[in-house]
């Protein structure tokens, strides 16, 4: 929108008034970042750092190199991502942009956001349009500031949400990589078992004790098992590169190593009771949606928009954003202190507010459903892993050791015993898969509890959350 031509004298006085009014709107980006950091540290993530090309960047790089030089832990990997993931850094810049907007809101004659405020031209033959515009601006600036405030809040929440998502993606990638390493080890063991059987048969063939047919059969099984090893190796490469992408690493920095064992199942599982409320209370997207509603209400000049908008259950801990209860109402009318607004505009504004409210409600319902579903998946994967570890694997071990006794008693050859060993390893592979699935879906649950509505990109499609995402489509944040 073009800047209005303004009488300099009037502008000067107006500006001085505006500056006084707009003074409180001049918030620094450091403060914004600090708020964002608080948002994520409440959710268990620390170490957010905004690269601005200053001296501290070099210190951060040194810290990253230090972390990479030793065996990389999960926390270390998350730390590196927060410091080094350039997409995340780009997101932080959004704060700068939001701040600029905020400052803009305090300045005269700035454009209004989103085009959601409409001014009807009010012309009188005696009025000076510029003056009128100034006057309008004087009235509107507080509104604009409130809108800009809300927009900044939304941005903070969005940035916090991105940080949580990246942290969760790093966790999922880390778990998947550990599982892939263990899987490779076991596939290699299978190849060694079949290789031993093949070697034995080869020597028996040399002594003339078995046929070429027997030798070919053994060799076929052995060579075929090598394909599984190759697939496992490729899987590791892929997962490593996904981690490199998340952690912003390239070149020499990509030869890090991690512990190649998945963590064991924790002794107890978090109960479902209270999880839904925890999720809804802390959800960043729901909070952003509430901010958005505030923003729109503010755009319509509502002083206390909270009165007119429906409630969302928050459980024990009320969000600090909410002020009082939200009333439910199919329709409501409220005075919009806009000069010369036509009825159609008012109706449209009402509808927009109600619409945003419905979306918020739907979002909360969807979040609750996802929390319940994800928790069920966590329990199921836990039970599966536990059963494999406690019942199936010991039985397979028993079969193998009993078969070895039969071999010692010279009742069977060693090949059937090695096949029993292979069955034991297969049960182990099932366990690794179940344990991995458990940790992945648990990460998803964590993410839901700590602020996001949906799993991150790092989650495997066939994991728990991938299954759940298909159940209910998400609610997008409307602008």
């Amino acid at each position: 929108m073009p800047t209005m031509p303004i009488n300099r004298i009037i502008t000067g006085s107006a500006v001085s008034v505006l500056l006084a009014v707009a003074g409180c709107a001049h918030v620094s980006t450091d403060a914004l970042l600090k708020d964002t950091q608080e948002l994520v540290s409440e959710r268990g993530v620390t170490g957010v750092y905004w690269r601005k090309g200053e001296a501290e960047d070099a210190q951060v790089d040194a810290a990253i190199t230090e972390l990479l030089s030793k065996e990389l832990t999960l926390d270390g990997a998350v730390q590196i991502a927060l410091l080094n993931n350039r997409n995340l850094q780009a997101t932080y810049e959004g704060l700068q942009i939001a701040q600029a907007d905020l400052v803009q809101a305090g300045l005269l004659g700035n454009p209004v956001f989103g085009g959601s405020i409409r001014f009807a031209p009010h012309a009188g033959p005696e009025f000076d349009l510029g003056l009128m515009q100034n006057f309008i601006d004087l009235l509107v600036i507080p509104l604009r500031q409130r809108m800009a405030d809300a927009a900044v809040e939304v941005t903070k929440l969005q940035v916090a949400g991105e940080v949580m998502t990246v942290a969760a993606a790093v966790k999922s990638g880390f778990i998947s990589l550990q599982a892939a390493e263990q899987t490779l080890e076991m596939r290699q063991q299978v190849v060694r078992a079949l290789g031993a059987s093949f070697e034995l048969t080869r020597r028996l063939r040399q002594a003339g004790n078995v046929r070429d047919l027997d030798l070919a059969s053994e060799r076929a099984a052995y060579e075929q098992a090598k394909l599984d090893v190759r697939l496992a190796e490729v899987a590791i490469v892929t997962l490593r590169e996904e981690m490199n992408e998340l952690l912003g690493l390239w070149g020499k920095q990509t030869d890090w190593r991690i512990a190649n064992r998945l963590p064991e199942l924790p002794p107890q599982e978090v109960p479902l009771k209270g999880l839904e409320n925890e999720a809804v209370a802390g959800n960043l997207e729901l909070a952003a949606m509430r901010e958005e509603i505030y923003r729109r209400a503010a755009a319509f000049g509502l002083a206390r928009p909270s009165i007119f908008l429906p409630s969302v259950s928050t459980g024990v801990e009320a969000s600090r954003e909410l002020e009082g209860d939200w009333l439910v109402g199919p329709s409501f009318s409220f005075p919009i202190p806009l000069i010369n607004q036509g009825q159609p505009a008012i109706k449209a504004a009402e509808a927009e507010l109600r619409q945003a409210n419905e979306r918020l409600f739907a979002g909360a319902v969807a979040l609750r459903a996802r929390v319940r579903a994800t928790h069920a998946a966590v329990s199921a994967d836990r039970d599966r892993a536990e059963f494999l570890r406690r019942v199936v694997i010991p039985l397979r071990q028993q079969v193998r050791s009993e078969m070895l006794l039969q071999y010692n008693a010279m009742q069977i050859g060693v090949t059937p015993v090695l096949l029993a060993k292979q069955a034991e390893i297969d049960a182990g592979l099932q366990y690794i898969e179940a344990l991995r699935d458990y940790w992945l879906v648990k990460t998803d649950l964590d993410l839901l509890l700590k602020g996001r509505m949906r799993p991150s990109n790092g989650t495997k499609a066939d994991s728990g959350m991938g299954r759940i995402a298909k159940i209910s489509e998400g609610v997008a944040i409307h602008d």
Partner: protein, 485 residues
């Protein structure tokens, strides 16, 4: 070895004298006096056969009431024969003889068919079916002319019967379930009664669902001594019953459905090293009665150290000039064979079935052929995946048991016994006849100490040189080359 009842040195001398004088025993003379002509006639029919005389069925029918006719008249029955007086009781290694009661001149025996948890040799036990708390059933021992009454109580869960293998009895006493009699239901007690009208080595076994019940162990020996015999009583009279079982390694019950792959071979239901040795004094007359109730196999029983005569079958005594000399006697399934010899060769003598698989304990037949395989480095490769693995069998089965590998519980695969010169790599249907000079009783005398110079050992350098023999075998003649075709 139990001390033989009534067998003191003076008794033996007396009997030797009796043989020389070829007199009829005091007992038979008394019998002639008490029972008169008829008995003497019976004696001619059944027992007292002078050497060379032939008896035939027709002679039987000419002179006396047919033995196949209904009730047996009490006049054909003799007073119950007494051990010692009328016969020298047999020796049953690892087994026992069934005691009897005399009730109104009838020898009364009581058999109880029941499940028994039986030990084949230390380390292998199984749930089998036997009689009176043991497997196999006890030896039933009587004398020609005895009237015997045998009660059979069935404590099994299945119906059973007893058939008297080789005995000539009334049709209804023959014991074939469904044919001769109703099968004995679980919990019932039946009575068999008949007069013994023959001598020899016979057997008894279940004859209802035989495949199952005999395979489970319901078998035993039935010995009938002659009433009057000119044949000298042996000094040692052994009874050995041969059998075969299929017991999976680690299992505790024989599988009666097995038809070909038997892995436990027994003498009196024991497998070596669990077989009690047969002990004889040098120059003893030794008789060994062999019965075979294996399901599917005949057994050529080979005795080391002696040449013996096969003197009897389950049909009767073989006339002396028709007896076969042998060192191995084939005992077909369902038959008995008796051998006799003088134990004039002191030492420890192996006696065993000569089917080589029958002297192995629980050998498995799915083990691959490892003979001649180069196993270098293989153990480490496999042991990484199977802790404790060791390659076995490249040099045969000899050292399998000595390797001491952990094996399934309750099994004796390839197990043998410790001998005086090392491990004896035999098992199953294998026992030892120990012949000793100068022993005062027949307890196991331990291992034989061969006189010096009579044990095969490493040839010394001097000996080799004196005989022109090279130790590495290079001085030995080579097989002539076959001409090219």
């Amino acid at each position: 070895m139990k001390k033989l009842s009534g067998q003191t040195t003076s008794d033996r001398e007396e009997r030797v004298n009796a043989r020389i004088s070829n007199r009829v025993s005091r007992v038979s003379r008394r019998q002639v006096l008490t029972h008169g002509v008829m008995l003497a006639g019976a004696g001619v029919l059944l027992g007292n056969r002078p050497a060379g005389a032939e008896t035939s069925a027709s002679a039987t029918h000419e002179n006396h009431t047919s033995p196949f006719e209904g009730e047996v008249s009490s006049t054909q029955q003799a007073s119950p024969g007494e051990p010692g007086r009328d016969y020298t009781p047999v020796i049953v290694p690892n087994g026992w003889t069934l005691p009897f009661e005399i009730v109104d001149g009838v020898k009364v025996f009581h058999l109880v068919a029941e499940e028994v948890y039986h030990e084949f040799t230390p380390g292998l036990r199984a749930h089998c079916w036997g009689y009176n708390g043991a497997v196999h059933g006890p030896v039933i021992e009587a004398v020609e002319g005895d009237r015997v009454r045998i009660f059979l109580t069935n404590k099994l869960s299945a119906p059973t019967t007893a058939h008297w293998h080789g005995l000539i009895v009334p049709s209804g006493m023959d014991g074939v379930g469904g044919l001769s009699q109703r099968a004995i239901a679980p919990g019932e007690t039946f009575m068999y009664e008949f007069t013994l009208r023959q001598t020899g080595t016979y057997m008894y076994h279940a004859h209802h669902d035989e495949m199952t019940q005999m395979a489970m162990g319901l078998v035993g020996m039935f010995i009938i001594h002659p009433r009057n015999s000119e044949h000298p009583r042996p000094d040692r009279d052994f009874v050995l019953l041969l059998h075969e079982w299929a017991i999976e390694v680690g299992a505790e019950r024989p599988n009666p459905n097995e038809m070909t792959d038997f892995n436990v071979l027994t003498i009196n239901a024991r497998a070596f090293p669990g077989t009690e040795s047969l002990v004889a004094k040098q120059d003893d007359r030794v008789r060994i009665r062999l019965g075979n109730l294996s399901a599917m196999d005949h057994h050529p029983i080979h005795l080391h150290g002696f040449s013996f005569n096969i003197t009897e079958t389950d049909g009767g005594i073989i006339p002396e000039n028709r007896q076969w000399p042998a060192t191995a006697v084939l005992v077909p399934a369902g038959t008995t064979r008796v051998i006799e010899f003088i134990a004039d060769n002191p030492g420890d003598w192996a006696m065993h079935c000569h089917m080589t698989h029958h002297v192995m304990n629980q050998m498995g037949h799915d083990f691959p052929n490892m003979i001649g395989m180069n196993a270098k480095g293989l153990d480490e490769h496999v042991a990484e995946l199977l802790p404790g693995y060791m390659t076995m069998g490249q040099n045969g089965m000899g050292d399998a048991a000595e390797m001491g590998m952990p094996i399934p519980a309750n099994s004796i695969p390839m197990v043998g016994g410790n001998g005086p010169h090392g491990y004896i790599t035999m098992g199953g249907m294998f026992t030892i006849l120990k012949v000793r000079e100068n022993i005062s009783n027949y307890d196991d005398p331990g291992w034989y100490s061969a006189p010096s110079g009579t044990t095969a050992s490493v040839a010394s350098k001097e000996t080799l040189r004196a005989n022109g023999v090279k130790r590495d075998g290079s001085s030995a003649p080579r097989a002539p080359k076959r001409s090219k075709r």
